[in-house]
Structures are given as C-alpha cells and as structure tokens.
Symmetry: C2
C-alpha cells in the first residue's frame, strides 16, 4: 500500500506530534536531512547518514546509529517516488540554553509522496536575493534547524516562475541557492563557493564534486562574486531532490544552449 | 491550586504536544518571550506583548492579540513565583522554506514555578565566550527561535559558579550576555551595546534605559569593545527573569563595592 499523504515516526512511534518543550522547537537545537526516494528507496543513504552524523557531532548531539534509522524506514510505506526528512534534536528539556548533560535526542522521520521532475531541458529562472547571510564559522556547512535566513530569503518572491534565489553573504560573496548549492562552469572549470563561513554543504554538492573529479573535470571550491556568476558559461543549482537545475535566466542575464549541464546531471543521476 | 511542574497550552488546548511538521521545529520559524511571574502575575505584560507583536511583524508572522494570550493565562494556574514562556510559530506546513500564503500561527504558553533570587549583594562571576555572533541585520534585536549561537556559547562552560558569558560579534564588538543584555557604568554614563547587527533587545534592557533616563542618568546605546568592558566602573547583565546581576568577576578582572547597581536594580524592580 502506498500512502498519498505524509507519514511520521517520532522516536520510532507512529505519531505526528512532538513535545512542545523539545529543544528543536525552543531553540532550533538540531539538524536535518532531506532525501530523494526513487523506486521506493532512499537515494544516497550512506552519504546522508554520514553527513547527519557529522552535523550532529558539530553540535555535540547524539546521533542515532544507521540501524535505528533503517528500522524506522522499514516501518513506513515508502512511495515509489517521494521525499524523506530525517531530523535529530537535542530532545525535551526544561528552560535554558545550556545543553542538559544527559539529553536524549529526539529523532523524527517523515515521508511524503512526490513526483520528481525530469531534467529540465529549457533551464530555470532564478533571482538574486536581497537578504545576505551572516558569517558563522561554528555552524557553516551544517544543515541545522536555524533556517530563518532561508525562510526570509525565500519570502522575497511569490512569482512561481522563479524557481530559486542566489544568496550572497554580508560582504557580497556568493554562497549558494536558498535551498540548494550553486555551481558555475567557466573557462573549462567547475567552480562552487567555499562554505567555511556560512551556507549548507549538501550531499548532492559533495557527490557532484567527487563524480566530476573522477570524470576528469577540473573542480574548484573557491570565493566567487556575483560578477563571476554573470560571467559564467553555464550555471546550475544542485540538491538531493532536484539533482541539478540549469539556470537559463538570472535577473537580466540569460544563457543559451548548455554544453556540460546534461553530462553533470547524468553524473548525479547515475 | 498551584502546580509544581510545568503546564502548557497549545492554541488554547491543554496539551504538551505540537505537530512534528510545525515550522517552529522544521526551521525555527517563530519568536518567543520569557516573562517573570511575581505574586501570581506576569511582570511587564504590556511591554512583552508589544515586543512579541513587533518581533512577529519583523518575520511577517500573524501575532495573536492580547485578549487571546490573556484568555490562555486565565486557564493556567499561575504560581506565586515563576516563569511564563510565550511562543508564536508560523504553524504546521508541508515542506519548503516558502512561508505558506495563509499560514495559521501556532501559539504556545508554558508556565513553570520558579523561585526568583533576590538581588545578589556580592555579584556574579562571568566569562567571555569564544563563539562570536554573526551579523544579520534582518534578525537583529528579534527574539526568534534560531538560538543555536546561544546554545553553543552556553555549552562552552559547565562550571556552575560562572553565571553568564559575554558575547562578542565576529569583528570583536561586544553584543551582550548569552541570555541577557549587558550594561556598563563608566565615567558617569550608563552604556549598552547597540543591537542593529545582532543580539536580542530585551524588555528589561528597554525598561532600564527608559527608567534610568527618567531618573536623570546619562544613557547611551553605542559600540563597545572588550576594553571598554574591562575599563568599566561597574558592569551588569539584565533580563526579565534575573532583573539585574552585577558582575563581580570577569576572567581576571574583579570589581569592588558597587555604586549604582543597587539603584538601577530598584528602578527595574519597581
């Protein structure tokens, strides 16, 4: 049986409720992952669990082991095509920022059915966001639950034709997309912003960098300006759900027939 | 009857549970207030509701009107001495950073019994935190649910004798305490950091600035360095629960008999 609406487990129990005093809600004290489900199976499972564990380590959170997550998934009806969200919080606790010495993490698994779009031949329209990300090296790269900057940036537009926004940091360096990472192809090199001051380092980004390197592309993590973005030969966003979106239009700039986007999409889709 | 443990209402219902898909948990998409209860009544009620409304406006959140909060409080057993937390989130929603066009806010009220300490004659011990706050003018001053910086800063020490930590921003300017605002008394002036780039502008801070101005003190919101802090004649933290804590020791610096702390505490306690 395939469910048509979301299903949720909290600490392995079939419930859509969490404690009102969970630190995930009180302070955004936790991390999460969003995975693509294809053919009834979560994609890039090992990489996502590795990243979840690493993000938990960054916050000093206990991360449930893979077997526990796999047991949870086994109890849900995974749709043929869908999305899984895994969340770990520092659990229920009384008031106060100090992490309790013996906190019990809360784990939440939610599954939604979702039709993943095929590679867009014509490419997408994007914009540049006004909101600029603050620098916080202690949290840079981590997909934590403090996502108000992303919420405010995404709230800047309602036009459904605009599919993604580019985020800069306070000094004006390019960081990525609101819900994705950004790559540009320029002068025979694949370039993506370094994420040591802010931004989220996605699993799709890591996979694309590794696969492209193996395939012989020159790949660079570097500082990038908006000028570099407009000067690029090709531009694309990646995340675990969309895989890769080629940008056809960004503000007043448009790009013609792509050369490498299709090949890179295939590297990710493999 | 006075309860000895916490009591919670979610949207007016007596439950300690919220939806696992509430955006307050998914993204920290919400704001909160922490109030002191004295003599069975919440202190500075009007100011706290004004600040809650203003913080909701900053995030584009619908804020429940005062009558709704008052109805909630009327249904709880307020302890003689305690704490109330009010939380507003953007409510339950499907995946995605975009705020839903017709979101229904979630409101949460929790009450705890708590004995408030009297003014500490001897003063407290404080430290300087390693974590430095990132600049985010779009969120500066707002008491939102994205509090991981405070959690990480508070996790830096376990020594129960250290009651509070001082937070600097990335360039090294002083912002405040981990859970409080900071004031210093120097050369006959009461000085507190400007909060236009980061930090939380507390109700106790606003009240103290207004009351001290009325009482004839010179009050300044300004840029402050750690050098200014060490050079101060007196130093204190304020928030709605502690009211005012005088600092007796900060790292290797200590302060002797205070001159204005008692008078300022009385201004706040009035």
């Amino acid at each position: 049986m395939v469910s048509t609406s979301s299903q949720t487990l909290v600490n392995g129990r079939a419930t859509a409720q969490v404690a009102a005093l969970d630190r995930g809600l009180s302070y955004g004290d936790g991390v999460f992952r969003t995975l693509r489900v294809d053919g009834g199976r979560p994609c890039w499972w090992g990489e996502h669990l590795d990243k979840l564990k690493e993000d938990c380590r960054r916050l000093g959170l206990a991360c449930p082991p893979p077997a526990v997550w796999e047991q949870d998934l086994g109890r849900l009806d995974l749709p043929a095509s869908g999305v899984v969200r895994l969340t770990v919080t520092r659990g229920e606790a009384p008031r106060g920022y100090a992490p309790p010495p013996h906190s019990q993490s809360t784990r939440i698994v939610t599954v939604w059915p979702h039709e993943h779009a095929p590679l867009s031949e014509e490419g997408i329209t994007a914009r540049v966001c006004h909101l600029r990300l603050g620098h916080q090296p202690a949290l840079a790269g981590v997909k934590h639950l403090n996502r108000l900057e992303n919420v405010l940036a995404r709230a800047e537009w309602q036009d459904a034709d605009i599919r993604e926004g580019i985020l800069l940091d306070q000094p004006g360096q390019v960081v990525g997309g609101v819900m994705s990472n950004l790559f540009l192809w320029h002068g025979g090199r694949l370039r993506t912003p370094r994420l040591d001051k802010c931004g989220v380092a996605g699993v799709a980004r890591a996979r694309l960098m590794a696969a492209a390197t193996r395939a012989g592309y020159r790949v660079e993590e570097t500082e990038l300006t908006l000028g570099d973005v407009y000067a690029a030969d090709e531009l694309f966003f990646t995340n675990s759900l969309i895989l890769l979106w080629r940008v056809a239009r960004l503000e007043n700039r448009s790009w013609g027939t792509p050369v490498v986007s299709q090949a890179l999409w295939e590297l990710l889709h493999a």
